[in-house]
Point group: D3
């Protein structure tokens, strides 16, 4: 996997571990609630990941976008389907989303390339 994404994942893991050490009950419960929100239920997990992705795009959070793209790819969403989700985010959120669209497309490309090279 490319540098930007591996760095993000290492930083994310390191700081999430550090947040765990803080041992604040409210924060820990929030983290669990966040994980649980994307598990299979009345809606399948993969659908919820796409909801999380669009929410992250319109709220313009690149780290959140990266996380949900990685999850969406793992959940089997195809590029054409993800582009449709990107388009909904773009229309809802406007041109202020464009820099995050660039970021999202780059992340998606990096993720596909990494999977290709992993597969060899």
């Amino acid at each position: 996997m490319s540098n930007r994404l591996t760095e993000f994942q290492a930083y994310r893991k390191r700081m999430n571990d550090r947040i765990g050490e803080i041992d604040h009950l409210g924060v820990k419960r929030f983290m669990n609630l966040d994980t649980a929100a994307y598990e299979d239920g009345a809606l399948p997990a993969r659908q919820k990941e796409m909801l999380g992705l669009v929410a992250s795009m319109v709220l313009r959070c690149n780290d959140c976008i990266d996380y949900h793209i990685l999850q969406c790819v793992q959940a089997g969403w195809e590029d054409q389907e993800l582009f449709e989700a990107f388009n909904v985010a773009l229309v809802v959120g406007g041109s202020i989303i464009i820099p995050h669209l660039r970021h999202a497309v780059e992340t998606l490309d990096m993720t596909r390339q990494s999977k290709d090279s992993d597969g060899k």
Copy 2:
């Protein structure tokens, strides 16, 4: 249908017509683009409506929430599925979403009641 929703729909129609009269090419094209974003494509229309609903909730726009709930109900989404979408929006957006969750649940109830009474 209940008063709040019928009033919203009448106001929405009246003002959208008025915006059409303004005849600004950019605005008209944006309106068309907005409609097109929720049509069947690589993702089915009903899925895009749910993406639009979650985007509207995290961006905290009650009129947009009402519009997408009406579309989601028409597209056949069940309450349990919509509650899951509400939950994703709540976890992503935090307690600041709660007033909009109240609004969304009230709108959903109104929509179901209206459909029940229409069916009689």
Copy 3:
């Protein structure tokens, strides 16, 4: 208490009860987490209410502002202290906060008047 605030509190209670009926585990846990975030801990409850108030003002949510002002008054904060919190929110959030400052001052006045008339 004045009409606007009593109506808000009645609506809030009615819809929170309705949200409870929905019985979505994630949503219920979030509601509990939200309540717990303002309880005495390393910081006293009254301080957290003021943090919640300023967060609500900069995020521009009138219902949240009303809720936290009621809590802050009950927790014993004086007007001069609350005005200081309003000022921090105004400086951080800019003139876009002014309509919410008007709302907050009106709510605070209503709350004080209601307490005065209750005390007679």
Copy 4:
């Protein structure tokens, strides 16, 4: 002038007066700074009002939109010019702006009608 706008202006005046009574130095200075930001300088006042209008639209504050439309009309901006500003706000901010575009167009129409009837 129509009811919605006269009510807004009366409420705005009443609460601004009340905020003045509070006599918080920081808040008073902010209010003065806000007024000064739209006075003639390196840019003419009318241009700054239009900047304030677009900022209010993308930040989705109806009271702020109403205030700046009233100022823009008084400053002599024509409808076609204001529609161009609305369009920039719509493209930058996305479909989440549409309910505020409806509000802005309605406010502009109310303002023009009021000026017409005043002129008779």
Copy 5:
């Protein structure tokens, strides 16, 4: 031109080209709509660029700020005029805009220095 801006422009071009390759009709139309929003019309292009700049500042998007500053400088806006626009954004958006004001001033300085050295 300085490194930060040339890098941004190269990245922006590369990713916009990549987004073009994706060939999503909705996304392509949005991109065209975005370009068209800043062309001469009832308002001159240079005025619209300034509207886009203020919208970008209050929405706190550094890439958008950089893009519109480059356009504004090319459109002939003077520093004193741009500082006025920065000030409107600062007053509307509050102290949360200050980091973006720093970024904007740095970008403007870089752009002027680059033009000076190009002119030699």
Copy 6:
């Protein structure tokens, strides 16, 4: 002090000085107002710094978070108290705050480590 924070402080000082040179009366007054908002008054300065920190977290501004954490540590707030403030921000603002929580915890750790090594 660690690199990221010293770099931020140097950049912040350099650009604030540059903004001072611009000599725009409105901007200068805003900067003064911002400083004054955190001075002792009806609320002590340390309390206002914590209000500023939570406002910065829910508005998701890393530079503002860093600034207020440095001020809060200097004002004598303990880690457990700051974690409570982080938790209020997390619950109000939702999972979109998590990347900023990571940043805040890292900044706090850096600040403590720097103070430890300064003290030797």
